[in-house]
Amino acid sequence: MAENPDPRPEHLPQRIWESIQRDELPPPDDRGRMRLVMNNLVLHLHPSKVARPTLKFTYTWGLGGLALLLVMILAVTGVLLMFEYTPTPQTAYLDMLKLQTEVWYGQLIRNLHHWSGNLLVITVFLHLLRVFFTGGFRTPREFNWVLGLGLLLLVVAANFTGYLLPWDQLAYWAVTVGSSLLSYVPLIGEPLRNFLLGGPEVGAATLTNFYGLHVAIIPLALMGIVSFHIWRVRKDTLSIPRRLDGKIDDGGTGSTQVEKVTTLPHLVSRELVFALVMTGLILMWSVWVNAPLEAAANPDHSPNPAKAAWYFMGLQELLLHFHPVFGAIIIPTLALGALAILPYQRFDLSAEGVWFRSLKGRQMALVGAVTGLIATPALVLLDEYALDLPGLMPSLPTLISNGWIPLAALLLLLIVYYEIIKRVFKATACESRQSVFVLLVTAFVVLTVIGIAFRGEGMALMWPWEVLG
């Protein structure tokens, strides 16, 4: 019988190592580097080669990568916190105190989790803006934009459910107010709210429900969609940054041909450096600044003012001006719906990769931002001190006088604005749409700032130093 010679290395440790790491390390040449990226579980999230212009930091600002880094920090610190936390009204708040005083590095881990979660909301929002303004959502990336919107919602849901867990006054009343928004959805709102809270009020059942959502259901969904999202980025390749003259932005004279480089080391080294710097910054911040913790939750006493979580402040501000069905349901649904169908609109493909589409696009974006910056506070002040729509139309239900009528008026103003940008400034449909988008985003940010810094006791308008004082 002829023996089959075993092709594996002679020594046992070497055989074990090769069964784990199949490719030669360090890779001898570009082919080896590409093979390593393909064969490695973590690295294969990347393509084996990338276009050199997309490596430019000021194109992506590393925001998608930062979001991913934050998700990983959240997973690690979150699992650690699970060992020191029991989700019952009797223990939750005490566990927070224990983390601060007894558990080694408990405060630091809580801070890391808290600040990473908040930074994730900001990062994902900025990432959305970056993708929008560079036209990164165009064919074939329409669906990846929609997946991204799903991620945005999941990130907000994760934050909202996590907000309750410390069981302090901040948590209890922010979730009470936030979940009450749901009950304004016609027909299914009330049952849905009761289902989510496990009863008509925030209580022990709510804490159990939110804990399950926060540590299992939402993270699983998030990881699944994030993997899908990044896989799609790899399949579709990143959009290529280009300059106003249409040439590829390669940092030099501009070219028409895309140069490709191997992912290892060109992309991976940049990612590592950026991840290290950001981890360092987050660590320093978390060492210095503690996550807030107020008095233990007291269902008998609402604090004044009872504010929502900061990323809901824009919504809360809308709510002070509109009938709740409009402020909490109709306007946000319209906004999300518009964002979701955005990539399926017809647009000029040649503007892909150009910041703000064109020179005219940049100017019109500025017009949108300035308009939003002036008009939003003006409208808020008008409604607060001068205009009393329900008072003017006492015979109409507030759903109409404080809902349909102001919404119709605002939409009319937006249409007029769009036509002015298009006709008077001679912008294309694409540039005009972008200008409206900038206007709305600015309005949303201004509303959020007003809610955070200019609303004090009884939700009255006041100066930031009075709010804090």
Binding site: F195, L197, E201, A306, T398, M459
Partner: protein, 167 residues
């Protein structure tokens, strides 16, 4: 497959293959609906006896003088006795966004700390943004004892005499 699809609309014969497809589809749908139903009932709220959500026996009729407003924190309600002797249990949850509304003895009204809604003694809205009066709970009087059932808050468009219960 083309020979299966006859042009006539009136033709009602279904091929075995199409029938099985339909049957599988229907069975799959049914399974999904059932699984959804199981999940929904599994997570449905449970109320414990004697706590909020159950029935509270709050005291004798004579313990509450006409014109009084008595808070019951465990039951999340105020027992109101109107000047004419009628009883009313008001859910203390603000109908705007759910804050706990305290009774302001000095001003003789409920004032919400969150967005400044105000309510009259009978729950009527004095000040928006609250969209409707405070919800009420069912009050029953048995053998001179007042009972409040906190199981289901009753919503109303405006308070009326029918809301009041007399001994």
């Amino acid at each position: 497959m083309s020979d299966v699809k006859l042009p006539s609309v009136m033709d009602e014969t279904v091929s075995r293959r199409d029938f099985l497809k339909l049957a599988w589809g229907a069975a799959g749908l049914l399974a999904l609906v059932e699984a959804g139903g199981v999940a929904l009932s599994f997570f449905s709220p449970r109320t414990a006896e004697g706590r909020f959500g159950g029935v509270f026996e709050v005291g004798a009729v004579d313990d509450f003088p006409p014109g009084s407003v008595t808070p019951f924190n465990a039951g999340r309600f105020y027992l109101v006795r109107m000047e004419d002797g009628g009883f009313l249990a008001l859910y203390r949850k603000c109908t705007h966004l759910g804050c706990a509304v305290p009774w302001n003895q000095a001003e003789q009204k409920f004032i919400c700390p969150c967005h400044a809604s105000a309510f009259e003694r009978d729950g009527q809205v004095l000040n928006p943004p609250a969209p409707r009066p405070l919800d009420r709970f069912l009050v029953t009087i048995v053998d001179g004892m007042v009972r409040v059932d906190t199981g289901a808050p009753i919503q109303r468009d405006r308070p009326g005499p029918a809301d009041l219960v007399y001994a």
